[in-house]
């Protein structure tokens, strides 16, 4: 896992190495300064050698300036290394996600991917900077200060050794227990926030059923619970400061007492005593710092794991070795196709599918929720791979085509379709980068989108908000159809793409298809029989199997499911208006 992450440091390796080096140099300066200090007092002040004070003082200033330079450089490289590392992580993840197939995306979920690219990367950036700057600095500072202390007086310095072991042990104990508590608390805390979120989005339900008091009571109980758990966890951490102070004070007093005795018998100088006391702070502060770094690392481990999962995920649909670069025609053949979303699944989502569709045919697909209509068409563009059997487009197995070639010739309008922020033209040109405004307008006319676009303030330059929130459901669907048409595909698949379009417009779109793009093979998935009735042939899906395949009249005659659906939707249509716009 860490190896995966580490390989993304790349061009920031230099910064990553320089940071700790400069931190170490800074520590060296910091450690030498108290040593020189002792020399000023002992050899300068006590012996009345003002020249010595100047020389050593001058040295100290030089040390301080060097320390400053090293510190600044360490800070600069540290910032660059961590910000760069974060950039590379985001870039690597983003690029890998672009290679993902649909099933890879399903595995992580959209929200999961967003969190990994944002919050998790920020956590790693902070942790990495901390590691570069503190992980080397703190232990080194501890060792340096300790060494100096031992050089000055080994006997007194052993007090520090005891102090370090004592404080280190206590901190380890506290952190060990605290992290466990905190993990529990944060889980509950997340639950609490999730329930707030739930209340915000369901506020109408709460108000309609007059359940404000009930929700308040429920929330107060949960919030009381979170409060108690937080107090329990943080009370443990409350020991940190007093423990640290206790150890420092104990050292100061111990050193003062023993040091005084030694000075009296001349085995220690006053200056040395002062230096020892300075090192005391250095040693224990480093220890404290180390414990903080440790906590930070533990907390960012979860983020590191989630990021490396994305980086290590391999796309399960790849281009073949010698791809075929041309799709001959729009014929589609399914040969003994079985399909399941998971490799090791026991039962198939699509079972034993055999179809033979000629180029230019219009095929309707009907079936209940979960009858695998979308799964069927998704195999044609190779959004998923079949488990067994073959899907042929233009007489060639879809797995032999170059993916981009295949997807440019087989255009899908997905069920959950998305528009992107940008102008209407920008969105349309997803279908064809170089499409002229005239071509875009023509595609919109076919999709019956032209009429409402013309009514918009900036027409084709109207800005679409993120997620297409400023157009209604029906308008969005029509724009998506126009976008797919711009590819001028050999096969066009509409996956329930006119569900929010009113019946009249729906009919107009179908009519335009029949007249303007007669040679394109069209697959239309719909709930409304009226949308399918005019198709050349209709596939009735039931629980992953083809229950019927034929013309409207044939099915009405011989297929029970089809007849049932038809009868329940008698007279005109079942729908009134443009739906889904709210």
């Amino acid at each position: 896992m860490l190896k995966t992450l580490g390989s993304q440091i790349k061009e920031f390796k230099k910064d990553s190495v320089l940071t700790p080096i400069f931190m170490i140099l800074e520590v060296v300066m910091e450690t030498i300064i108290p040593f020189l200090m002792a020399s000023i007092i002992d050899d300068g002040v006590e012996k009345g050698d003002i020249h010595h004070i100047y020389v050593v003082g001058g040295c100290m200033v030089v040390m301080a300036v060097l320390g400053l330079v090293f510190g600044v450089l360490g800070g600069k490289y540290g910032a660059r290394a961590s910000a760069g590392f974060a950039r590379n992580l985001r870039k690597a993840m983003y690029e890998n996600i672009q290679t993902f197939s649909f099933s890879n995306i399903d595995k992580f979920s959209t929200a999961g991917l967003v969190t990994r690219l944002t919050t998790d990367v920020t956590n790693i950036q902070n942790a990495y900077q901390m590691i570069l700057r503190m992980c080397v600095r703190a232990p080194f500072s501890l060792i340096c200060a300790m060494t100096m202390a031992f050089l000055i007086n080994a006997k007194l310095a052993s007090i520090y050794l005891i102090a370090v072991i004592f404080l280190g042990g206590c901190l380890a104990f506290i952190i060990h227990h605290a992290t466990r508590y905190f993990n529990q608390v944060f889980e509950k805390y997340d639950d609490l926030n999730a329930s707030v979120q739930e209340n915000v989005s369901a506020i109408r339900v709460v108000k309609a059923y007059v359940r404000e008091d009930y929700e308040k009571k429920k929330f107060k109980k949960a919030s009381e619970n979170v409060y108690r758990m937080f107090v329990k966890a943080e009370s443990l951490l409350a020991w940190n400061t007093p423990l640290m102070q206790f150890t420092v004070y104990a050292c100061i007093l111990g050193i003062s007492w023993l040091g005084a005795k030694m000075i009296v018998v001349s085995s220690l100088t006053t200056g040395e005593l002062m230096s020892l006391l300075t090192y005391c702070m250095n040693i224990l502060m480093s220890l404290m710092m180390l414990s903080m770094v440790f906590v930070m690392i533990t907390m960012s481990m979860a983020s590191a794991r989630r990021i490396s999962e994305v980086l290590n995920e391999e796309a399960d649909i790849k281009n073949p070795m010698n791809p075929i670069m041309e799709v001959k025609d729009g014929s589609v053949v399914f040969e003994n196709v079985n399909f399941s979303y998971k490799k090791d699944a026991k039962s198939y989502v699509l079972k034993d599918i055999n179809l033979n569709i000629k180029s230019g045919e219009t095929i309707g697909i009907l079936g209940g929720t979960g009858s695998a209509k979308s799964s069927l068409v998704n195999l044609i563009t190779r959004l998923y791979d079949v488990s067994t059997g073959k899907v042929l487009v233009g007489g060639v197995d879809v797995r032999d085509y170059d993916l981009e070639v295949l997807r440019n010739e087989v255009s899908v309008v997905l069920q959950n379709n998305v528009l992107f922020s940008g102008s209407i033209l920008d969105n349309l040109r997803w279908g064809d980068k170089d499409a002229s405004e005239e071509e875009c307008r023509h595609a919109c006319e076919l999709a019956c989108a032209d009429e409402f676009i013309e009514k918009m303030p900036d027409k084709y330059n109207t800005h679409i908000e993120q997620g297409g929130t400023n157009v209604s459901g029906g308008q969005k669907q029509r724009l998506c159809i126009a976008r797919a048409l711009l590819k001028k595909p050999k096969i066009l698949i509409l996956d329930d793409s006119t569900s929010a379009v009113d019946t009249a417009t729906d009919a107009k779109i179908r009519k335009a298809f029949a007249e303007e793009i007669p040679n394109t093979t069209k697959f239309i998935i719909a709930q409304r029989v009226s949308s399918l009735q005019s198709a050349d042939r209709i596939i009735v899906m039931d629980d992953g199997c083809i229950s019927g395949f034929g013309t409207h009249e044939e099915l009405l005659d011989g297929n029970k499911i089809y007849r049932e659906v038809y009868e329940s939707q008698t007279a005109g249509s079942g729908d009134f208006d443009e739906k889904g716009g709210m």
Partner: protein, 640 residues
């Protein structure tokens, strides 16, 4: 979700927008008084403890002088050193130190309660306030913004209350004490120290300004990158279908690089502040050492070696808290911005309710009048309390709703419903039909007073709905919303939401009525299956069935059904339809219809267009008229 990673030991982090706060002083006072309200005594104890801790630390530093001047130097000069005096002095210091340590524990421990307690109070108050706010508030505020009050803003407050404030108090006390001690030891050296502090503050100001500028830029870029990521991840499948990967990567790399540059700069300036100040501190130390050394050597003003040692320690203790204060200020500013948003939520005006007419269970008496009943009888009555003569009268609840020339707009400038006239007799079924945005849902939201009307009157059994207590008005109306929202909990609990004291049998009965029983039984744990994340593991149709069951168990006299628009398959649709039909029996029902079968047998169909009722009548009447309804219904344009 931000939250779990904001551990207890993480340093101050710029979250949210570090924008300037208006009137920070006033806000700070308000925050303090909010904390004081519940933890006044605790706060006083904390301040006292912090003072004790700071003083004990200062006395320890002062002891260095005594140690060298009064003990070590005399002892080195004496023939037979007597250490008992020193031991005594050390013991005394030790006692002070112990007091300091005890006080330190006391205040950190109390602060845990103060911090967490205050955060809990904030959370509770926010939630309580939120539940009482009118629907309009939720329309006009992004849900993400409301949520960030509970997450980001609370987190910055945690940082400030638990760390910044105690540290500020302790730093100020230390600074004052140390300054006094330094002045007592040597005025000249103190001036030198202060001069260096001034330099330090000057540099801090410049660097903090630069770093702040880049942090803002970083924050802005993070926002842009996150928005891009969110948009592209949501549309990732479309990206695949259109082979748009390359373009998507190019755009991302560009944004990502911009973020890198601002993040690099922001962290750079923040990082170099510490070493610069620390080294200026060291230089200050050296200068004092040299000056002090010269002074001590020449014995000016009786300045001793011990005094120099002490002074140098003070010099170091003086620089540290100043460094800390400058670091904490940033997190205080951020927390105040958070506090401002939280207080803004707390200051929102709750839904008002001047209603006085209550809804009570009733029994019919032999003489035809109704009387109040303790038990649920299936009959309801409006209970009028007449203030004038202090009497109570009852009126049977029938479910008769009248709209009398109603105008409505979400704000006064833009009226969206014009002159709505509507009569629903008890038990009638009224259907609304029309294009998206015609105002169908809005009309139903007026009946239960989610919004208040601008002009005209709505009467419920002849009573102006403004006179009915909101809670009772809403209790009398069952609503099945277009978008089904479910709560985390079991299926049973979700249905019971309609009537909290419903028995399991009642719940199952309601589920059967709504046609939901069948699929619930097939769920892994039946009625005890846990639903999470708004029931994401259920299909749209199943969620709707549960919403209908929820309304069924409430058993309200009047129903409002907003038919779901998302496509559900025909079989489930049939089940939903049957469920709704059974629920509607014998109740006054308003239904926002999208499907023909729902509308056809309505007593009256209202066709809405742009906030006006353009046609009304029964199905047959409207078909005959060959107007808009005919057009919608047949998919044909009349006379074309």
């Amino acid at each position: 979700m931000p939250g779990p990673m904001n551990g207890p030991m993480k340093g101050p982090q710029p979250q949210g927008k570090p924008k300037g706060v208006e009137q920070p002083g006033k806000l700070f006072r308000r925050l303090m008084s909010y904390i004081f309200k519940n933890y006044g005594f605790a706060c006083v104890v904390v301040v006292i403890c912090i003072v004790i801790t700071a003083l004990s630390s200062v006395q320890g530093t002062m002891f260095m002088q005594t140690l060298i001047d009064d003990y070590i130097i005399p002892l080195t000069k004496s023939e037979h050193p007597d250490f008992s005096g020193l031991l005594h002095a050390i013991a005394k210091v030790a006692v002070f130190y112990l007091c300091g340590v005890a006080a330190a524990y006391a205040y950190t421990r109390i602060m845990v309660n103060v911090t967490q307690g205050t955060l809990k109070n904030f959370r509770d108050d926010m939630f309580l306030k939120m539940e009482s706010l009118p629907i309009k508030y939720f329309d006009t505020h992004a849900h993400g913004d409301i949520m960030s009050c509970y997450t980001n803003d609370i987190d910055t407050l945690r940082q400030m209350i638990s760390q910044s404030i105690p540290q500020l108090i302790s730093s100020v006390i230390t600074i004052v004490c140390v300054l006094v001690c330094m002045l007592r030891l040597n005025v000249l050296l103190t001036m030198v120290t202060l001069l260096m502090v001034a330099v330090m503050l000057g540099i801090t100001k410049i660097l903090a300004g630069l770093s702040g500028k880049y942090f803002m830029e970083q924050q802005k870029n993070i926002g842009i990158v996150n928005a891009h990521i969110e948009e592209m991840m949501n549309g990732q499948k479309v990206v695949k279908v259109f082979c748009h990967e390359e373009e998507s990567i190019d755009k991302f790399n560009q944004l990502n690089d911009e973020l890198f540059h601002s993040s690099d700069n922001a962290n750079k300036y923040a990082n170099i502040l510490m070493p610069i100040n620390a080294q200026i501190g060291n230089v200050s130390y050296v200068i004092c050492a040299i000056f002090g050394g010269i002074l001590a050597l020449n014995g000016y003003g009786g300045f001793t070696l011990g005094a120099l040692a002490s002074f140098l320690t003070f010099n170091k203790s003086f620089n540290m808290p100043i460094n800390q204060v400058s670091q904490q200020l940033n997190s205080v500013v951020m927390a105040l911005a958070g506090a401002e948003r939280i207080f803004a939520l707390l200051d929102e005006k709750p839904e008002t309710d001047e209603g006085y007419v209550e809804l009570v269970n009733a029994v019919e008496q032999p003489d035809g009048t109704v009387a109040e009943s303790e038990k649920r009888t299936g009959i309801w009555a409006w209970k009028h309390f007449h203030k004038a003569d202090d009497t109570i009268t009852y009126q049977k609840m029938e479910g008769d709703v009248v709209f009398d020339h109603v105008d409505f707009g979400y704000n006064d400038e833009k009226i969206v419903l014009h002159d709505i006239e509507l009569y629903a007799k008890p038990g009638q079924k009224i259907a609304f039909v029309g294009a998206t945005g015609a105002g169908k849902t809005t009309i139903t939201n007026l009946i239960n007073r989610f919004y208040d009307i601008q002009d005209g009157k709505i009467r419920y059994d002849g009573i102006n709905i403004n006179k009915i207590k909101k809670a009772d008005l809403r209790r009398s109306l069952g609503i099945v919303l277009q978008d089904t929202h479910l709560f985390t909990g079991t299926v049973m609990e979700n249905i019971r939401y309609g009537k909290l004291d419903a028995t399991d049998e009642e719940v199952i009965e309601a589920a059967k009525l709504a046609n939901a029983d069948g699929f619930i039984k097939r769920l892994p744990d039946g009625y005890n299956t846990m639903l999470t994340g708004d029931g994401k593991n259920l299909s749209q149709g199943q969620r709707q069935l549960l919403a209908i069951a929820r309304a069924a168990v409430a058993d309200p006299p009047v129903l409002i059904l907003d038919e779901a628009t998302s496509s559900i398959d025909t079989r489930t649709e049939k089940l939903v339809q049957q469920g709704m039909d059974r629920l509607m029996e014998g109740r006054t029902t308003f239904v926002i219809a999208h499907r023909l079968s729902t509308v056809r047998n309505s007593d009256c169909i209202m066709v809405l267009e742009q906030g006006h009722i353009i046609e009304k009548g029964t199905h047959d009447q409207l078909i005959e008229e060959q107007g808009k309804y005919y057009q919608l219904y047949t998919g044909k344009i009349a006379n074309a």
